[in-house]
């Protein structure tokens, strides 16, 4: 979907033009009113949830996973202990902005974003990171045996409001991952971080840790990431915001996406294999509620 045409706040008068455009290009339309949405459905568009989110139980029940995942989690956890890492979770507001930007934001987060060419939640911009100090955000800092910062995660306490028919979802407040990063030499510790974070979240009395909110369509390089998230997830949640999202793929169809149907969300993919794999993982994670 490299040549996606996003149309924000699509108006009903523009539906015909968008229909015409979608004959040759992939189109994503954000629609505020349901009548315009209905017209798009008639034109062959599909409705998407606003976001897809994988959640793990806190603490992570390692024994509940299949053998391969269980072994990789235990291996990551062993490496974590061998390197004598420790994790400290605290409200971002409890840290000094000067320390955060000098010791965590630039060396850990910004470096990782530019290394991986990613921009989670626009956090490659300093003003976006500064705005987190005004929100209910927690900072998880991973330190090595010498006390040096080697990794970090930003998590936001958020109110879950999900109302998609047929889907069981957590309600109330959860911790949602915004971004996480390690210094270059410790990239292999992501899974151990999840285990540690979930344990820390549980100690604070929360039941779920979100692995981060994703858009409902996945470009080729990201499909693998979503598969990994689904393998760990104990629950998959979908969100629909008041502004509805519709898509029609052109000749370059997206590799995978989630469609909102009247009976609930459905995983779709260009290949049957991938569609079955994603649906199976999501169904397992959802505990049969898909």
């Amino acid at each position: 979907m490299s040549r996606l045409a996003p149309l924000m706040q699509l108006r009903e008068a523009e539906v015909s033009a968008v229909d015409h455009l979608s004959e040759t290009a992939s189109v994503l339309a954000y629609v505020a009113d349901s009548d315009t949405g209905d017209r798009l459905i008639q034109k062959g568009f599909v409705r998407l949830p606003t976001s897809v989110e994988c959640l793990v139980s806190a603490p992570l029940d390692v024994a509940s996973y299949g053998r391969n995942i269980r072994r990789s989690l235990l291996r990551a956890r062993t490496h974590w202990d061998e390197r004598r890492f420790n994790l400290d979770l605290q409200p971002l507001q409890a840290t000094s902005p000067g320390w955060f930007f000098d010791k965590v934001y630039y060396p850990i987060f910004a470096s990782a974003f530019y290394r991986q060419a990613i921009s989670p939640h626009g956090l490659q911009k300093r003003s976006s990171a500064e705005a987190l100090f005004e929100r209910d955000v927690s900072l998880a800092v991973v330190r090595d045996a010498g006390g040096g910062v080697v990794g970090a995660a930003l998590l936001e306490r958020t109110e879950v409001q999900r109302a998609i028919p047929g889907v069981t979802a957590p309600t109330g407040r959860i911790l949602e991952g915004l971004a996480h990063a390690f210094v270059e030499t410790h990239q292999d510790l992501r899974r151990a971080l999840y285990v540690e974070l979930a344990a820390s979240v549980a100690r604070d009395g929360d039941r779920y840790l979100s692995l981060g909110r994703d858009m409902p369509w996945f470009e080729a390089p990201y499909v693998g990431v979503v598969e990994q998230k689904l393998r760990l997830a104990n629950l998959v949640a979908f969100e629909q915001a008041p502004t509805r999202l519709y898509a029609r793929w052109g000749s370059e169809a997206t590799p995978a996406f989630v469609e909102l149907t009247p009976s609930g969300p459905r995983w779709r993919a260009g290949s049957t294999d991938l569609q079955e794999r994603l649906s199976g993982l999501a169904a397992r994670a959802a505990g049969g509620c898909m």
Binding site: A5, L7, E14, H20, Y114, K125, R126, S127, G250
Partner: protein, 286 residues
């Protein structure tokens, strides 16, 4: 850029579609170009440099440069190969460039991988040092000129040209010091022209850099990429704080318009139209 540009490049009838979508900035391709103001894809700012270019510097920049040198600061131009890739990544990319991009709220103009690709043999680094720590830097690469540009009236016959790819500094003062010294430093290494390529829009915080560059510019080349490949901005849709540079051709005469609030946008517009009036602007691909 925060203003969304809707691509209708693949549409069958883009002209009709453009008319049906009056409330959007558009990128499209067509045989027929619209009468509406078109924006170039890039604006190349050309600066003629000489070893005595320092004489052209604003007095306040020159004074800052002198204070910097008196305090033990030094400036150098060297081949990128003189420093290891790891050193360049740690001290130039991570310590200077990423901080500058983040502080200016830019998207990722250069990723780590693209920075590494930049540092090929023959590329120069201009570095300002303070206490043996790099505090400002620019990447200068050999300039590849299209035949259209090389034959043009502005560029004339260019013996040696360098593309100034990116400038990063710890603060605005150090940035101005490096930029003030760069022309003379480059000329001392045999460079005759410096070229800096800019997008035709500016997010808040970028217009100052535009104004500073245009004040020293010897000429501009507006790149319209290819006939019929249209970047069409709707001036009335530009959001607060943003600025977009338009070039309008009426009765064969080019003029510049800059949307956006404030004195700096007006200054950029004045400088652009000054260069047009002096015959120092030409277009390619229009």
């Amino acid at each position: 850029m925060t203003t969304a540009i809707t691509s209708i490049a693949d549409a069958k009838s883009p002209l009709a579609l453009a008319e049906a979508l009056p409330n959007r900035h558009l990128h499209w391709r067509a045989d027929v170009v619209p009468a509406a103001p078109r924006s170039p894809y890039f604006v190349d700012v050309w600066t003629r440099v000489r070893e005595d270019s320092l004489e052209d510097c604003p007095a306040e920049d020159l004074a800052e440069l002198e204070r910097f040198v008196e305090a033990g600061g030094r400036l150098e131009i060297c081949d990128a190969a003189e420093y290891s890739l790891q050193w360049s990544l740690d001290h130039l990319f991570r310590e200077l460039m990423i901080r500058e991009f983040a502080d200016r709220d830019l998207e990722q103009p250069l990723t780590e991988a693209s920075f590494e690709r930049c540092l090929r043999p023959g590329v120069w680094l201009a570095i300002a040092w303070s206490n043996d720590v790099p505090v400002a830097m620019a990447i200068l690469q050999p300039c590849g000129l299209s035949k259209q540009e090389a034959d043009g009236a502005i560029v004339e016959r260019i013996a040696s040209t360098r593309d100034r790819l990116v400038v990063a500094a710890r603060d605005e003062r150090l940035r101005r010091i490096l930029l003030a010294a760069l022309p003379a430093m480059s000329a001392a290494h045999g460079v005759c022209w410096l070229r800096a390529r800019r997008r035709p829009w500016a997010v808040p915080g970028e217009l100052n850099a535009w104004a500073h560059e245009l004040a020293h510019a010897s000429g501009l080349v507006l790149g319209f990429r290819a006939p019929g490949d249209v970047l069409l901005f709707r001036p009335e849709l530009v959001r607060a704080g943003e600025a977009i540079v338009f070039f309008v051709s009426r009765l064969g005469e080019l003029s510049a318009e800059v949307t956006g609030d404030g004195d700096t946008a007006s200054e950029v517009c004045r400088l652009l139209n000054g260069l047009i009036l002096e015959g120092k602007v030409r277009s390619v691909g229009l």
